[in-house]
Amino acid sequence: MSLDTILASVASMTAICSALMVIWQRNAVISALFLVLNLGSVAILFLTLGGEFLAAVQVIVYAGAIMVLFLFVIMLLNPAPLKERFASGPVVTGLTFALGVLFVASLMRGVMSLAGAGGAMASVGERYGSTRSVGELLFTAYLYPFELAGVLLLVAMVGAVVLARRQAPGED
């Protein structure tokens, strides 16, 4: 087994376990910290797929910015940890998990047909997934979507400020 495969397997296991812990925990802060672990292991998976730029963006934007925003809001609201782990009783929860297993099984059927069609990875050059090659593509073929993403972020920022703003007295 190559180092790449070992790294990817360990990262996959960590990703699945931390994802399960996210939905198992009662305390939102602990859930958020496990989500950070999950995002970190997905960044390692991106690295094994040759996406060094993506891995860096994943750590900086997701695990850095978005999760800090999450933790900040959790601390700001400071909700008391809920007594119940899940919204429904054990029967409904068990049924939902059973449905989830069925869902994974049906997805796996499609994935396995993919394996029959030849699931080998293409051989790629040294520059695959580097900041330079991704950037070149982003500023040529995907220039308009890129600009639109900038507008979307601006709209979201203004929207978030307006939504979270405290209503001034006398203003309706």
């Binding site: 925990q25 997905v42 996406g51 978005i66 809920l82 939902t96 394996a115 995907y142």
Partner: protein, 99 residues
């Protein structure tokens, strides 16, 4: 790792995210489950990009991250507004749209 393992991992992570949205009652944890689902899709996109040897899939992941950032900012702002009104993040108690 072959393509099939990455796609299987993506399917499992996505399903865990769906379970979280369906089962949790804390609005913030539901939101984190949505992030889990977005991430699962990102893994699949990057794996297929590597499979085909092109970079377009990675560009898609980049855009998904941008949308996720926008969605997280607006969603958390909505939670702050709701919390100010109802003093709870329990989704079973938030029924403002029901009369």
């Amino acid at each position: 790792m072959p393509l099939v393992s990455y796609i299987s991992l993506s399917a499992v992570l996505f399903t865990i995210g769906v379970m979280g949205v369906l089962l949790k009652r804390n609005a913030l944890t539901i939101f984190m489950s949505i992030e889990l689902m977005l991430n699962a899709v990102n893994v699949a996109l990057a794996a297929f990009a590597r499979h085909h040897g092109g970079l377009d899939g990675q560009i898609f992941v980049f855009f998904v991250m941008a949308v996720a950032a926008a969605e997280a900012a607006v969603g958390l702002a909505i939670f702050i507004a709701i919390f100010r009104l109802k003093k709870t993040t329990d989704v079973t108690e938030i029924n403002l749209m029901r009369w």
